[in-house]
């Protein structure tokens, strides 16, 4: 399943890039992210909880940076597995930054996601809506965070 969208952050490209490449910032903005650690500059580990109605899942996820072109483009792959519950997810992600008209930054993302195992039975239609709503929550959090940093000097 593919999701793609974009949003504008009121901060220049360089500063937005720094926020997006800071695992602590990303971890704090990601809904359900309980912890995140940098194993290396291109590999992160995180624990992420996702809830859809009565179904709750916790994933141990790994995010690997495959390619990056600072400060405009980063390609990552996320792999997650759900402990003994036997669900796996994989998401190939491309994130691009471009200057927006008002001095801000347009952040565009594309993710191609697959979920297998018990959660794969649930049907992609609603899962896609959930992924979209998590992505827009992330965008809102990131925007608030970058704007806060900007106004704080």
């Amino acid at each position: 399943m593919k999701i793609a969208d974009s949003f504008v952050v009121a901060a220049p490209v360089e500063r937005t890039w720094r926020a997006i490449r800071d695992p602590q910032v990303v971890g704090a903005c990601l809904p359900g992210c309980e912890e995140i650690e940098a194993v290396s500059p291109t590999l992160y580990r995180a624990r992420i909880g996702v809830k859809l109605g009565p179904i709750a899942a916790k994933f141990a996820a790994e995010v690997e940076v495959l390619e990056e072109e600072p400060p405009v483009r980063v390609v990552t792959v996320t792999r997650g597995e759900e402990g003994g519950r036997a669900s796996n997810l994989r998401s190939d992600n491309i994130l691009t930054l471009a200057p927006a008209d008002d001095g801000g930054t347009r952040v565009s993302y594309e993710a191609d996601m697959t979920v297998t195992g018990r959660l794969g039975k649930f049907g992609f239609g609603v899962m896609k809506k959930k992924a979209q709503s998590l992505a827009s929550e992330f965008a809102g959090n990131l925007e608030a965070r970058v704007n806060e940093a900007a106004s704080g000097g």
Partner: protein, 284 residues
Amino acid sequence: MEFVRPDSIEAAVAALQAEGAACLAGGATLVAMMNADLVAPERLVSLRDVAALREASRRPDGTVVIGAMRRHRETAEETDLRDGQRVLREAAAQIANPPVRNMGTIGGSCAFADPAADYPPALVAADARFALAGAEGRRTVPAGDFFRDWYETALEPGELIESVILPPAPAGTVGSYTKLARVAGDFAIASVALALGMDGGACTHLAVAVGACGPVPARRRDIEAELLGGPLGNAEIGRLTDALAEAFDPVDDVRASAGYRRRVAPRMVRQAIGEAMQKLGETQ
């Protein structure tokens, strides 16, 4: 896993306060989900011995109270549901198949809140309220606020549905539930719940809720209110379907694409209103 069978609403609420506790009503959904390893409650609170949840009654003013443990088959045959309230009977009669209708309950189905299920739009069109009981006491929530998002309701942890309450429908109104599905008994591709009253060519009562076209039933009370007192011709119905379409947020799934749902749902609304007008002996 622990299994408890309280025999009163108070005891059921108390048993539900434990971490990982879930109500077991008819089991039509929960047991299937447990089998699929989608949920694993630590404590199952069976509601089958709570007699008060199995009752339905009609008050003198026409209000109908349906206990959360009433089976779909019982609701489909509920003669206390009259006039516009019949939308709920028609919805119950179209759920799945006879074994599931003998097993599943209105409380269980609504608590799960599948966006393609049949009760949510019917209850929203009937202006029903949910009576909830929890550790903090009792409260009622309008159906339109109870269904909140994909599979999410206003139920707080440790709270259960006691009943659904349908207000009296004005005499002479009709209620109908139309469902489009790939095969009989499947979840809806789209569905239309309707309560309609007409008097001498003027609309006296109008409630339309569309199911399976978004996270919660779509309804436009603002436009309905504007159409009251006038005729319901093509232009008026078009205004309503255009407004409803703004509230749609359908999914692509194995049953139909989002685009198909957007195309078919307005036509279903038009058809449902046309058929209801015929029943009322009105011409469009």
